[in-house]
């Protein structure tokens, strides 16, 4: 049962990662990336690493996501002012 959950989680991680790179729309890629970060937090929890889970959620998904979204916003505004 737990193995099934782990496998599912791992597969969704990989699928999200793949879509992040392959999806044609950049905004969607960024959202997928943040989702990926949250899934990573879950994975860390499964690996009995709550410290990393917390850090991943706050830094990996949160801060990195914010940085990326902010950059995306600026770049888009610059292209279409």
């Amino acid at each position: 049962m737990t193995l099934a959950f782990d496998l599912l989680l791992a597969l969704s991680l990989l699928w999200t990662a793949w879509r992040t790179l392959a999806t044609p729309r950049l905004d969607r890629a960024l959202v997928l990336f943040i989702v990926f970060g949250l899934l990573m937090s879950l994975a860390w929890a499964r690996l009995a690493a709550p410290d990393i889970g917390l850090a991943e959620a706050a830094i990996g998904a949160g801060l990195t996501g914010a940085l990326l979204l902010d950059a995306y916003g600026v770049l888009r505004r610059r292209v279409r002012p």
């Binding site: 992040t20 790179l21 990336f33 690493a49 990393i52 990996g60 610059r78």
Partner: protein, 100 residues
Amino acid sequence: MSTGFVFALAGAVLFSLGVAGVVLIGHLLRRILAFNLMGSGAFLVLVGLAQRQDVADPVPQAMVLTGIVVAVAATALALALVRKLHALTGQLGLPGDVDE
């Protein structure tokens, strides 16, 4: 198969995917994403492989914490460079090899 192993394998795939992304993708924002995927892959291998008997090992966990902070630092720097490049050239890709 243990949880550790599952995620170690996933990490191996993620790493390869990330490297392939950095190599193949020209769009710089996406390259940064790919780099982050690559890093996450390495972290998963580090913890997952060490915990392949599913016993928590604080040493690789602490290393990964360190690694995550380094990754966010690198990401911020990369973004700063990309934004600067875009401001200067309007481009979101690197110019072709500048070999003379």
